[in-house]
Amino acid sequence: MNARQLDPIAEAAIDWLVRLDSGTAGADDHAAFARWLHADPRHEAVWRTISGLLDQPLAAIKDADTRLPGQRHAAHRALTAPARRKALRRGTAMLLLLGLGSYALNRQQPLLGLSADVHTATGERRQVQLADGSTLILNARSAVDIEFSAQTRLLRLRRGTLLIHTAADRQRPLIVATEHGEARALGTRFAVQLQDNHSELAVLEHSVRLTTADGSEQTFAAGSAARYDASGIHPMAESAAPLAAWADGQLDVRDRPLAELIAALRPYKRGYLQVSPQAAVLRVFGVFPLDDPDATLHALAETQPIAIRRYGPWLTVVEHQNEIR
């Protein structure tokens, strides 16, 4: 597989590298290696090149692992995901399946009639079993109208975010409608979020067909996400998994502006959570618990240049440190 010829010194250096890191190298081996290394200046030069190639990136990961355990393992997994997009999907599906058994849900409702309105309060996430066997998870401060008929299974998202795991029914398509368009399940699990000026779709399994008021239509496969409004559909570069992490009680942000994270926390925090324009544009990464917004704000303040001020239970202000002196 290596078409180019490997020079004998490099080959010897690689043999030493394999031998010394095998876990069974003894004092004899180390002494013999030292003799080889000093026998010729070229030996040392090639040795440095070969061992240095990997040492630097490996050291960076190991170093981070001492501060935040799990980095080694995560790096290893990322680098050995064979067909990454596919692996990503499988990982996501598994995460959500595991999650389903252990949701810290505030309320469980068994079966819901053919039409109903479901809503959740601040800090409340609810799982609902629908009449057709589908499972609906509603994020905090969300509302959905359920309208099942002989022709369709329609969920009108009025506010917030939902995740649906659909039951098969060839006769009646399942549609999640917002004011911005319709997402039609093609046998699947997906999440829809309604925001002020657009809606967002995150597909976790199989695929979903989006249709908007202007007649745009596009099908999205597992792992993909899209933003849409009445005038069209815009595919998103983000992977779908973090957009649906809320269903596991997590906030998974990947290099996003702080404003987005704060917006996702709001339904979980009583009173008003305000973020200053200067703090809003800070880029954040991390996985945070949704159910404890104060702990999340605290964790953020440890890694970001922000200050959190509380004015009683009604108002919490997140500011950039530059603004408070």
């Binding site: 070969i50 990961i61 981070a64």
Partner: protein
């Protein structure tokens, strides 16, 4: 650089068009602007663009490479973050740690590109997770000789990839 005037002309004539093309691919105007710049950086790095018959076809070829490496890095980063998110602990790395680890993973990915999966795993188990050959052989159910062969293959591959990268970007070393 003598080629500069024609690069400037190429930029003036086509950067809007290229930006629009990339925006359609990416669905994000800022990202498209970044990758448009990256594409023209590659034009500057190319040897001879004195007389291009099909400037847009040329730009598209380069832009596709930029786009491919962008998606590749994005996939890698997503796989890494998914792995982190799947762990029980919450985590919030500092921006510095985030950047360092992401860059380290990208470097390793470049060095390991094209290496068979088992050899990749063996190398990472040994060098990253610090497992002995015996432990690795037991963990993945192969003989000790196979682990040694995979280690040698992997290190040779990395060495060749490292040489290739050094030869491709001589200015980076000076």
């Amino acid at each position: 650089m003598p080629a500069a005037p024609s690069v400037a002309k190429l930029y003036v004539d086509h950067h809007r068009w290229l930006h629009a093309w990339l925006r359609r691919k990416l669905g994000c105007t800022h990202l498209a602007a970044d990758l448009t710049q990256d594409t023209f950086v590659r034009v500057l790095g190319a040897r001879d663009i004195g007389h291009l018959n099909e400037p847009r076809a040329y730009l598209l070829t380069l832009a596709q490479r930029v786009l491919y490496s962008f998606w590749r890095r994005r996939d890698l980063e997503n796989a890494w973050l998914d792995a982190l998110a799947a762990q029980p602990e919450s985590y919030a790395p500092s921006a510095e740690d985030y950047a360092l680890v992401r860059e380290a993973i990208e470097t390793l990915d470049r060095l390991l590109d094209g290496l068979p999966l088992r050899a990749r795993k063996v190398l990472l188990m040994n060098r990253l997770e610090e497992m002995t050959h015996t432990e690795i052989a037991k963990a993945i159910g192969v003989s000790l000789a196979t682990v040694e062969r995979d280690m040698k293959l992997a290190l040779t591959h990395c060495y060749m990839a490292g040489l290739g990268a050094a030869a491709a970007t001589p200015q980076a070393r000076s």
